[in-house]
Structure formats: C-alpha cells, structure tokens
C-alpha cells in the first residue's frame, strides 16, 4: 500500500490527540472548560529535545502538514512539498510538530465540539479566540511533548502572526523563527475583505444564526463564495491571467450566467471543495482571529517596543506579487526588529503566485529556508 506513495514522502501519518483538563481563560475574558488539541508529529525528538520545529497553520490549514492519512488520499498534507525526509524541513534531522488550532474544524476543540458544560455543540457560541490564545495552547502542547525550547517556529500568513506572538510571549522558548508572508497586523483592506467573507456566510439563508448544523442544509453557498473571494486575493493578477487568461470552457460565448470562462469554473471548483472540508463557524471565527492580531496595540502602536522582549533569530520572507500580505508589511516587521538590534534576516522572493507563494515550491524560497535550517541543525548538532 505504502509503496504507491511518492518515495520522498514521510509516508503514512496519524494524528494524535491530547486533552487538557485545566480551564483555559481566553484573551476575550471567556473561558473553555478544558480543551483538546489534535496534532501530528514527524521525525524523532532527540535526547536533549533540541531539534523540535513547530509549524503554525494559517486560515484554512490544519494539523495535517505532511504525508498521507491513507494510501487512497489524493493529496498529501498542505505543506508536504517542504516537509519530509531530506526535504527543506528535513524530518531526518528535526522533530516537526503541527497542531490544529482551537476554534478550527480539524479535530481540535472548536465550534463543532460539544461544550462539556451544556452537553450541546458549541456552534456559534464558541468563544472568539486570538493568536495569543492559540500560542498559549501551543505552549501547553510543547510542555506535554517535553519541549522546553523550539529550535524553530515556522509559519506563513496567519501562521507568521503566531510566530511573532511566540517571540513576544515566550522569548526563551524559541531559538529561531521563520515569519513568512505575514504582517504584524491586518491592513484596513484585509479587514474589509474578511468582513465581506463573513457577511456572505452570515447572509446565506441556511446559516440560521450559526445553528445550521441542526438541519441538513448548511450555508454552503455563503462559505463557497467567501472562499472564492478569498482565493482571488491569495493569487496575483498575473498568476490568474497566466493560468486562465480569457479561456472559455466550451470554446464560445453562450450569452448566459452559467460558467463560460475557465476562471469561473476554477473558482466554483475551489469553493465547492472547500465547503466539503471546512466549517462555516470556524471560518468566521478565524477571520476574526486575523482581524484582532495587533501586538503593537498594547504599546501605543510601537511595534519595535511590542517586539522588544523577543530573543529569537528571525528570518522574514515575503513574496513580490503578494498583495494581501505585501513585502512592505514584512519590511515593517524587519524595521521594528532593527530598531531594537534583534537578529534578523530578510529576503523578498520574486514570484508570480501572490500570497499563495508561501505554499509553493519556489527554488530560492526553499533554498533560503533549507540553508538556514542546515546551519541550525549544525548548531544543535543533530
């Protein structure tokens, strides 16, 4: 069975689950009466526990980063091109951990979970969480796994925001961090896009104030459209043009509202396949997590001051065609770190694929990470 999987893959992997009994007080003031984290690990933790890498997932990601759950899986984990034996994040050298964040729908406690206090599904009553809350639960997972200090914490997009929060909240618990295609806070335009996505979902006639799971009809149209909108913003104008241009699906204009252009067909496909794997309440909640993140809000807007506790070595990576989290936003982070003499390197990768570039196998991008990770591996002598 396993023979049918690509030879450089980590192969078949299984998710793990850990339950925390302790009450988790959230940044909003609400709390969870215990919670569960689903996570995957690849590679082996070395004797002095110094080779652990934490991967923080973004909006639509989960704990399944690499490998396959079954030999029948059509696709591997979401960052399989970078994680595995001899790959960029080399599982022969490093112990890689990725949890599904709370509030998500990958199996960790979230809107689809039953609230132990009421015996009912949380649904729309799941408390709004923040990046801070996520990082706190990730630190609890680290304790559970016996990892005092992460060799590296890596995240793209919303994952990069978690890296920033880690460096501020637990400066002694990470040596390095790769902050990829991220920002220290969302731009107004980004919040605006998120708000449209939320309104589209919430105004679906099957949304039912978030209690849609009580009936057979889910707000699939709303979620699909939200994803279609999001998807366009994750790609660049050039990438879309190059991929689809003005190609027609059936060769000619039919003067109707059904799918005519290839891009329409592609977007509908993207939207539909997302609906099958994602929960609308989770999507709403995670867009809020994105909107709320702003560490500098606690230091009068001064990011350098907000990040001053950080001790990690930073590698900041941006992509030239990313207009959702543009290089300028990464340069802001770099500037803040330079102001307080932090160890930081920055590279802007030339790419055509917009925000989604961080998931692509772009040679210079992967080489930048691999070269840095090789040096880190030598430092910790794995």
């Amino acid at each position: 069975m396993q023979n049918s999987l690509p030879p450089n893959s980590i192969g078949l992997v299984k998710p793990n689950k850990v339950h925390f009994d302790k009450k988790l007080v959230l940044a909003s003031g609400s709390s969870l009466n215990g919670f569960e984290l689903v996570y995957e690990t690849y590679g082996k933790l070395n004797a002095n526990c110094s080779n652990a890498i934490l991967i923080c997932h973004a909006l639509s990601g989960d704990h399944h980063v690499a490998g396959y759950h079954s030999s029948k899986d059509k696709k591997p984990g979401w960052w399989d091109n970078a994680i595995g034996p001899n790959k960029v994040i080399d599982t022969n050298k490093f112990f890689v951990v990725c949890p599904n964040n709370i509030g998500g729908c990958g199996g960790s406690t979230g809107p689809l979970t039953t609230n132990p206090d009421t015996g009912e599904i949380y649904g729309p009553n799941f408390p709004l969480v923040t990046v801070k809350d996520w990082v706190k639960t990730q630190a609890m997972l680290a304790d559970h796994l016996g990892i005092d200090v992460w060799a590296v914490i890596i995240g793209g997009s919303l994952g990069g925001m978690q890296c920033i929060e880690w460096s501020i909240a637990y400066p002694d618990r990470l040596k390095h961090t790769f902050v990829i295609a991220a920002a220290s806070k969302l731009s107004t335009q980004n919040i605006a896009f998120n708000e449209i996505a939320r309104q589209v979902i919430r105004s679906d006639r099957n949304f039912n104030e978030g209690y849609y799971y009580k009936s057979d009809n889910k707000p699939i149209h709303g979620l699909m459209q939200a994803r279609m909108l999001g998807h366009i913003t994750y790609l660049s104008d050039d990438a879309l043009d190059e991929k689809f241009g003005r190609q027609l699906r059936n060769g000619k204009i039919k003067f109707g509202y059904d799918v005519e252009f290839q891009i329409e067909s592609y977007l509908r496909y993207q939207g539909r396949s997302f609906v099958d794997r994602f929960d609308a309440n989770s999507y709403l909640l995670i867009t809020k997590v994105l909107d709320y993140f702003d560490p500098a809000a606690e230091t009068d807007g001064n990011l350098a001051k907000a990040m001053s506790p950080a001790k990690a070595e930073f590698l900041i990576i941006s992509f030239s065609s990313d207009w959702r989290f543009s290089p300028t936003r990464s340069v802001e982070i770099v500037g803040a770190l330079l102001e307080t003499n932090k160890k930081v390197s920055y590279i802007e990768i030339q790419s055509k694929e917009g925000h989604d570039s961080f998931l692509k196998e772009i040679p210079i991008y992967h080489q930048a990470m691999k070269t840095t990770l090789n040096r880190i591996a030598t430092e910790i002598s794995v």
Binding site: L315, S345, I347
Partner: protein
Amino acid sequence: MKLRTDQSLIAKWIKHNTRVLDLGCGDGALLANLQKEQNVSGYGIEIDEENIIKCLGSGVNVIQTDLDAGLSQFDSNTFDYVIMTQTLQAIYYPEKLLTEMTRVGYEAIVTFPNMAHWKCRIQMALGGHMPKSRTLPYEWHNTPNIHLCSLDDFENLCAEKNIEILERTTVDHAHQISLGMSILPNLLGEVAIYRFRSSA
C-alpha cells in the same frame, strides 16, 4: 571564508566588540569573519538572492534592500562603522549614500576602483577607449559601474559634503600595497580604501 585583501585591511581598522553595517555585503565573508574573530555584531545589506542565501548559511544577519532606496530604515548613529566595499561606483546617488553612511554610523569605510590609475589613464589617452582592467572588467555598455571616480574626485566630494577623511590607503588589483602607491596614490593605486566620518 577567505577575505580579499581590501577586506582584511578593513578588518584591521575595525575595533573589537563594535557594531557594523556592511552595505553590499556580498556573500557575507567580511561580517562572518568580524563576528567570529572580533566579536562584532551587525547586519549586511545585499540585493542579490544567491549572496543572501550564502549569508544565511554563514549566520550573517542579512537584509535584502536596494541601496539606491537609501538607509531610512536605520536610525542615526546606530552603528560604529558602516562599510561599503566595491559598491560605491554602482550606486545611482553616491553622494547621498555617503552622507547617509556618516549619519547611520559614527565612522564609514569605502573601497572603490581608482579611475585615475595609470593604466586607465593610458587606455583613455592613447587607446582612445573606456578603460578596462582586472578590477574593471566590463565594456562601457554593460558595466554596472555608473559612477566611477578617482581618489582626487572622491576627496573633493568629501570636502564638499563636510566629510572628514580619517585614513586612506590604496592597493593594486591583487590587493597588495606597495611603496609607490603610498607616494602617488592617485596614479598608482588601483583600489582606494577610505575611513571617514561626518565633520558637521
């Protein structure tokens, strides 16, 4: 990594335990060496991706920036030295960058090829064509070196910009120093090395 002779000379000028900004740091060899041997900290600025990856590999903090965009991301007097080796001649606004270097650093160090070297003079005067040499290997139409100057030109600019020259040396294409060069640097020196600061 092995240092070029101009880099070794610069390393000797730099005091231990100081902070250095290296503009156009290339593969990061100078900074890596300074970090290791002289406990220097700081950053390299580089635009070429391949070079940036070399820096990442040797543990040199490197920031991808186009030097023509200036050094606005750095506060005044944040470095003990701002260094720029063999890059000045490829900059759009050298006089602005020189002033920026003396703003960001207490002292600055540059190296550049000397256009008044006797071989260049002969090629222009007798050959009637733009000079080419081992330090200036390009044709006039494909050279990245758009602002070539001589030692005298550089010193005149410094005087104009209130820049005080603290030290000067010249080396040949193999980055060796000779007696002749110290007597007639503008004629015999192929590569100029200057240490300077703002006198304002």
